[in-house]
Amino acid sequence: MIYQRSCRQALLSLPLLGSFLFFPSAHAMQPMADEEMSAAVAQDGVSVRLELLINAKADGSPMDGTGDEQIDCSSATDPCRFAMEFAGRDDKWLVFKGYSGILRINDIRLDAQAELGTVGSNAAYFNVAKFQGLGGACLLPGGCTVANLNVSPALRVSYPDTTPGFVTGANPAAQVSSGFTSLEIGIALDGIAVEFGNESVGPLANANNPFLGLNVGDVASATAPSKIAIGGNALIFGF
């Protein structure tokens, strides 16, 4: 899901982009004037939200076969697994049982930083060698100086500021973390086990006990994903 911080411009440009994607052969490309482009595209940056679910419901909990779900991770046959067989180890499987996961990246922002100097706070860190090529030649257009770097542009990736907080409670479920909204990661892996048999038997077998499991979550509930706050800017520039 992609939306723009400048909603007015987003609404104008998204249908146009959609028509490019769906009817590539029906319309010849038309050149745009600079003025048109500067008025219609994402000059204010874009905001991206990404969600990835594996064997999981929208809240991050494992699929349980209810509603429209086709699989039930808790069933005896446990379809939520994958298995690995290494070369030369025929019919010996490392089986990852009962896995599900959720990854949500909320509101990551892509924007332009017009001048690096507005975020650069300590010129004493200037390391000229980082911007020199083979033989020591300067690769920064305009010269390898702090002053030139200060007026150079960059791509900026950032998260909106949040104020993380925490409220104590009498039990784990009553403890509440708030403001950790940049990133949510939930992983459940009931266990890893070694199983034997051909490819139609080994990966589905439950003959041996698992020896290690992995969970990434939050004490708020057994299926709540972990919550993470990210702050600051990543500035990416080429030279």
Binding site: L155, V216, D218
Partner: protein, 390 residues
């Protein structure tokens, strides 16, 4: 480079790329094209950076019950992984619970910085990903220079940056649900930076090994650099719940502390030693190997001394009846070290914030001085998987 124009046109460029991408097949590059390396790269600066997992969020490794009487189930959880600013002073530090006392004037008392790390990777010394070329001996002892130099893809970290603070609190639990159930909660804090005190950065290099053409393979060289203060503590305050999954209030002083740690570990040397991956035997095993230093004088002299010949000096220790030959001028680029404390001035060996010490909850310090490992250079290391079956 005018990025503003690029951003204005980005959606149009993306649309064009999506529509027209089937028209262009991938074209292999010629060796001559690849050798046209200028050293230009992509720079990534991280400004005011912080990463905070909620104090109630965790990564858990779960064990399993066992029938063996001498074994117990074990579980481990790591909560609240946080990378934040390493500043000290008023309004700079927080506890995991965001309330409660910690000494904000001490770098490793508060686990969480109230601000981000302003210059985590400064715009003036950013991470740089680039293709580069370096002089060096190959595995056969030929010195590669000029046009013969192989191209290396490298990611170089900053040489100088603000300190950051890395922390988490942990739970180790034994025999969950059993008669011998026990729990230990702890916190770990590092206030430092990923460069050495003298400014050697962290570097990852990927390249094609310069062996015979038939045996060339993927080579990796890594230079690890870390410096700062470390603390591991377990004492909690009287108000702390001290129960599983409950965010603890840790004492602000207690713990084992390492002050002014400085660690440098270079692994691999261009172009005569590299980490390689290979198969082992014919039954599916594989090996990860730091290749042995070639037994060629020009190569090992370069690695040990940074010169074609190695001058040595007779060194006599406290026991004057014995002496040995030591390299006069070791190669600082290949000589790793780990120093637990600042060795620059003997008068500071037991200074309050230097070296290794144990601190009580009431802030009584037992100082055991400074320690160091010098001259760490791995000649060869091979990790081979061995299947238990045929």
């Amino acid at each position: 480079m005018d990025f503003s124009l690029l951003f204005k046109r980005l959606p149009v460029l993306l649309a064009v790329a999506v529509v027209s991408s089937p028209a262009y097949a991938m074209v292999a590059m010629e060796e001559e094209e690849m050798s046209d390396v200028s050293g230009a790269g992509i720079a990534i600066a991280l400004d005011d950076f912080s990463f905070s997992m909620a104090p109630t969020s965790y990564i858990e490794l779960t064990g399993t019950a066992t029938a063996l009487p001498q074994w117990r189930r074990g579980d481990a959880r790591y909560y609240g992984l946080t990378l934040s600013g390493g500043q000290t002073g008023a309004a700079t530090g927080l506890t995991f619970a965001r309330t409660g006392a910690c000494n904000q004037n001490v770098s490793i008392s508060c686990p969480i910085g109230a601000q981000g790390s302003k210059n985590f990777a400064p715009v003036y010394d950013p991470y740089v990903l680039r293709a580069f070329e370096y002089d060096g001996y190959n595995f056969q002892g030929t010195f590669l220079t000029g046009a013969n130099r192989p191209t290396v893809l490298e990611l170089i970290g900053p040489s100088n940056m603000d300190n950051w603070r890395w922390s988490f609190w942990g739970e180790i639990e034994v025999d969950r649900g059993g008669a011998n159930q026990a729990l230990l909660q702890s916190q770990t804090i590092i206030n430092g930076r990923n460069a050495t005190v003298d400014g050697k950065p962290t570097i990852l290099r990927i390249f094609r090994t310069q062996d015979t053409p038939a045996a060339s393979t993927l080579g990796i060289a890594y230079q690890s650099a870390l410096s700062g203060d470390f603390r591991f503590s377990v004492a909690q305050t009287a108000a702390s719940p001290n129960a599983r999954e409950m965010v603890p209030f840790f004492n602000q002083n207690e713990g084992v502390r390492f002050g002014n740690v400085d660690a440098f570990l270079p692994i691999g040397r261009l172009h005569s030693q590299a980490i390689t991956l290979d198969t082992s035997g014919t039954s599916g095993n594989f090996e990860v190997r730091l290749t042995p230093i070639p037994n060629i004088a020009s190569v090992y002299n370069d690695i040990y001394c940074g010169a074609a010949t190695c001058a040595t000096t007779t060194v006599t220790g406290l026991d004057t009846t014995n002496s040995l030959q030591a390299i006069t001028s070791p190669n600082a680029q290949t000589r790793g070290y780990i120093r637990w404390g600042d060795f620059s001035n003997p008068a500071n060996y037991t200074a309050a914030t230097n070296g290794i010490r144990f601190v009580s909850p009431s802030n009584v310090s037992t100082h055991i001085g400074v320690a160091r490992l010098e001259g760490v250079l791995i000649q060869s290391l091979t990790l081979t998987t061995q299947g238990a079956g045929p």
